[in-house]
């Protein structure tokens, strides 16, 4: 009998231990009951999330942000997949071309935020007076070039997109997969606009021959270049600038032909039951205060009245090189067709180059 009770005591003890871990986890979760919690989907960089959230919550007490973050393609896919079972209240920081796809599906709520007239024309949905999305800032493609590794490998510094077709770069370039990455998609869309449909695909065929691999996220090629894993990464400026400031032997190159770009934008999901709070977030996202936050990572901003300051080591001529005009409607309307064609041509890199 004694043995049995000991056994049971041991069992109870271990179960209690597990139970307390479960309880501990539960206790650490929820926020105050009276707060309105907004589910906000985003594709901004992880590091940008804390300051954005803090600024908004400080300006709007009683409203809390709960992020859902992933790469542009993933967030877009998730939103579309949840069309009939909406989870998100607001989208803050997703490529405008993705928001246009959602708009075509009738998933966005119209709202004109406070200060809408201060938003540059390029950065707003101009079809009617009641926009479904509002731009925040622009990010543009760039080449991250590891000078230390390039020297070891004897690689010349590329200055244009077409330079990258030189066989000397074979196996040394990485770029994001446009299917998952917004940066990948904006680069592809820009090449198709800059070099024409035929010329664009021809350029990408040549690039593909030199490509080592296609990554899931848009910042990874730059981070891989920074770590010397691959000497050249097609990416965007912000992660490169950050790595340079951290001491990486990196240079951010803006190709001379011009660079593709895309807006990050905000939209309210149709059917949200927290419309008032969602509109407050849309107001904040379009405010001068928010634009100053965006300026810590990006140079081109949506508002006319905020003069951008250049982050340290940020390439100075980005604004001049932006592809103009950049046809977002075309990119959004042909998004699936472009991705299908891309997948057909480059989806299988069966053997990695050695």
């Amino acid at each position: 009998m004694k043995k049995e009770s000991l056994t049971r005591r041991l069992a109870l003890m271990s179960m209690a231990a597990l139970g307390s871990v479960a309880a501990l986890g539960l206790a650490s979760a929820p926020a105050a009951a009276e707060d309105v919690v907004l589910k906000v989907y985003t594709a901004i960089e992880e590091e940008q999330m804390p300051p954005y959230k803090e600024a908004f919550e400080a300006a709007n007490p009683g409203i809390k942000i709960e992020w859902q973050r992933d790469s542009t393609g993933v967030v877009t896919a998730r939103l579309l997949a949840e069309k009939e079972n909406r989870q998100a209240d607001v989208v803050w920081g997703l490529a405008a071309s993705s928001l246009m796809v959602l708009d075509q599906e009738g998933m966005l709520e119209s709202y004109k935020p406070v200060g809408f007239d201060q938003i540059k024309d390029d950065f707003k949905d101009r079809r009617t007076g009641w926009p479904t999305w509002v731009g925040m800032d622009a990010w543009a493609s760039a080449i991250c070039f590891n000078t230390a590794e390039a020297e070891k490998l004897g690689l010349p510094k590329p200055t244009s997109w077409k330079d990258l077709l030189d066989p000397v770069y074979q196996g040394h370039i990485v770029m994001p997969n446009p299917g998952s990455s917004g940066t990948g998609f904006l680069s592809v869309a820009a090449w198709l606009q800059m070099f024409g449909e035929t010329g664009g695909w021809q350029f990408m065929d040549g690039l593909h021959a030199n490509m080592n691999t296609y990554t899931h996220s848009g910042s990874k090629p730059c981070k891989a270049a920074g770590a010397g894993e691959y000497p050249i990464g097609i990416s965007f400026s912000y992660p490169g600038v950050k790595l340079i400031n951290d001491g990486a032997p990196l240079e951010v190159i803006l190709p001379t032909e011009g660079i593709g770009w895309e807006m990050e934008a905000t939209a309210i999901m149709k059917g949200t039951d927290k419309l008032e709070a969602a509109q407050k977030l849309a107001d904040f996202a379009a405010s001068a205060e928010a634009n100053k936050l965006y300026n810590q990572s990006y140079q081109v901003l949506a508002r006319k009245d905020v003069t951008p300051e250049l982050p340290e080591n940020y390439p100075a001529n980005e604004a001049d090189l932006l592809l103009s005009p950049n046809n977002f409607e075309w990119a959004a309307g042909n998004r699936q067709a472009i991705l299908d064609e891309w997948q057909k041509r480059y989806g299988a890199k069966s053997e990695p180059k050695s």
Binding site: R8, A11, S14, L18, A227, Q343, K344
Partner: protein
């Protein structure tokens, strides 16, 4: 299969089972208690239907529908096989799975042989080291390989110009990941040898090679087949390793992810999911058939094999085992190094900054607590469900057909790759109009999914343990009019306590490390540590991803350590009856 004790139908089971001559049982009339039992069995049936059958059915339907839910037959499959990029993945997956399986089985066999058939030194430590990969999420070997053999890797030269990104990296990573699974099965298979056969061979003056070919190999051939099947399925369906180190070498598991998450093509995702399912189901069936024979191999009169010292052989196997164990530790050690180096490869100064997860975004350590919470819930609730379920199918009276059907269903999760299960859960629980959709995006769906994912091995462990408890207990308690649940609580549970603990630790560790199923199901406030590690690596923060992996390893190791301490004490106090 995290522990030798979890390997289904061990030798103990064969020894203890009553050998015939059972007195005729008097079948009592169905009373209130029986109806409660039958109700419980029915409940278990409903549970399986909701958590397994219906989601898989939805997946099947999805693969033969177009985007607007019209039935289009096999058109999706036709489109799949018309796409050379996707069929290439199928070939790639078979290539790495076959090569990986051959290497894993070869190494695991050497290791298992060294552990069971030689008197080499340090067997205890070497056995423990071999199980280390079970504690790590499968992306960790991938990350370590980048540091070891990547373009800035320490041993890049060893690859002689080949790239680690691709089949080479996938195969090495998968060998690390699958090794302990193969080892557990092979150790069990090699432990059940009959000493008398070796004595006979010895007196017939057979050469060692001949003994090996005619006694040892045939004796464990079922174990070998079974291990090969398990390893093949593991590699075929693993997601973590190819995600991290696959480069542009696509495999089916990463295809599903890309189709669904990258291109929102759910129909094609379902097609690839089903392709992942077929080989798994086939190898699962072969494995089941083979395991049935393995049990029958050992007769009641067998004398357990005890190795005698052979200095030369022992030393040879010690070296081999140390090399393999060294490889496993090298991978783990490199992941740890990667997590504490400031800026690989330019600034090799140690730092703890990569463990400061708050730098990476708002999540901070939140995912870690989510993982702990989920793992604890899975361990608690899962163990209760699995053990009660096994008890019901094994020990209750009546409803025989239903019970064996449930037993069969409980086998299914083993054949369903995590990534397929995760996909099936989205389709089922996120369908408009499903009242169970409430649990979508909550912790509950992660817990339910994870319990289902790892159900089979736990069920088999519970059944093996329950089989050791004589059915007479129930009969006696019935005739003494003791309520069944009291017998359950006072006899069955204490006797099976070691198995129950095994199950809960197995569930806990797997819940901590799993990625494949839950990656489709997490929400912002239920993000898990293992998923966070994948996302962090995706964003290019390899060092922090390593740090997250290491935190998981340490947590699993601590729990595992506590478990073995507890088991050792428990064994001394309550399991004395097992000794002859």
């Amino acid at each position: 299969m995290s522990d030798a004790a979890l390997a289904p139908a061990g030798p103990l089971a064969a020894d203890i089972r009553p050998s015939g001559n059972q007195p005729p049982r008097i079948r009592p009339q169905a009373g209130a208690e029986d109806w409660v039992m039958r109700g419980a069995i029915a409940l278990l049936g409903v549970y399986f239907i909701i958590t397994l059958v219906l989601p898989l059915y939805t997946l099947l339907i999805k693969s033969v529908e177009d985007k607007d839910k019209n039935f289009i037959g096999v058109a999706n499959f036709a489109r799949y096989f018309a796409d050379p990029a996707l069929t290439q993945s199928l070939i790639n997956t078979f290539t790495v799975s076959i090569i990986g399986t051959v290497i894993t089985i070869f190494l695991a066999f050497l290791y298992a042989y060294a552990l069971t058939r030689t008197c080499m030194a340090m067997r205890g430590i070497l056995r423990a080291v071999a199980l280390v990969p079970l504690l790590a999420p499968s992306l960790l070997p991938g990350l370590a390989l980048i540091y070891l053999f990547g373009n800035q890797g320490i041993f890049k030269g060893l690859l002689m110009g080949h790239e680690i990104y691709g089949p080479i990296g996938i195969i090495i990573g998968e060998v690390f990941f699958a090794f302990p699974h193969a080892l557990i099965i092979l150790v069990t298979a090699l432990s059940v040898a009959d000493q008398r056969l070796y004595e006979a061979a010895d007196s017939l003056r057979a050469s060692p090679t001949r003994v090996f070919m005619t006694v040892t190999l045939p004796g464990c051939r079922y174990g070998l087949i079974s291990a090969a099947m398990v390893v093949f399925t593991l590699i075929f369906t693993d997601f973590g390793v190819p995600k991290v180190i696959g480069g542009s070498y696509n495999v089916l598991a990463t295809d599903v992810y890309r189709q669904v998450i990258g291109q929102f093509n759910f129909q094609m995702g379902a097609v690839v999911g089903l392709l992942l399912l077929f080989p798994a189901v086939i190898s699962f069936t072969v494995d089941r058939l083979v395991q049935r024979k393995q049990v029958a191999l050992l007769s009641a009169r067998a004398v357990p094999y005890r190795p005698s010292p052979r200095p030369k052989t022992d030393r040879f196997f010690l070296i081999v085992a140390c090399l393999i164990a060294g490889f496993l530790l090298l991978i783990l050690g490199m992941a740890f190094l990667g997590s504490i180096i400031t800026f690989w490869p330019y600034k090799l100064v140690p730092t703890l900054k990569w463990y400061d997860f708050t730098r990476l975004g708002t999540d901070g350590w939140g995912p870690y607590f989510n993982s702990l919470r989920m793992a604890a819930m899975v361990a608690l609730i899962g163990t209760a469900i699995v053990f009660t379920g096994a008890y019901l199918t094994e020990k209750s009276r009546g409803a025989k057909g239903l019970r064996s059907a449930l037993h069969l269903i409980a086998m299914v999760p083993l054949a369903v790759p995590g990534i397929v299960l995760g996909l099936a859960y989205i389709f089922f629980f996120n369908a408009p109009g499903n009242p169970l959709g409430l649990i979508y995006n909550t912790m509950t769906i992660l817990v339910v999914n994870t319990i289902c994912h790892f159900y089979t091995v736990c069920h088999l462990t519970a059944v093996t343990a329950l089989k050791q408890v004589d059915a007479e207990f129930e009969a006696v308690s019935a005739s003494l009019k003791v309520p069944l649940f009291r017998t359950f609580w006072r006899v069955t549970v204490p006797v099976c306590l070691p198995a129950i603990l095994d199950i809960s630790v197995y569930l806990f560790v797997n819940a901590m490390t799993t990625v494949s199923a839950v990656i489709f199901l997490y929400a912002s406030d239920t993000k898990l540590m293992s998923i966070n590690a994948i996302n962090t690596d995706d964003a290019g923060n390899t060092a922090s991803a390593c740090a997250m992996g290491m935190v998981i390893v340490v947590t699993s190791a601590v729990l595992k350590g506590l478990h073995s301490l507890l088991v050792r004490r428990l064994h001394k106090r309550t399991q004395a009856w097992r000794q002859r």
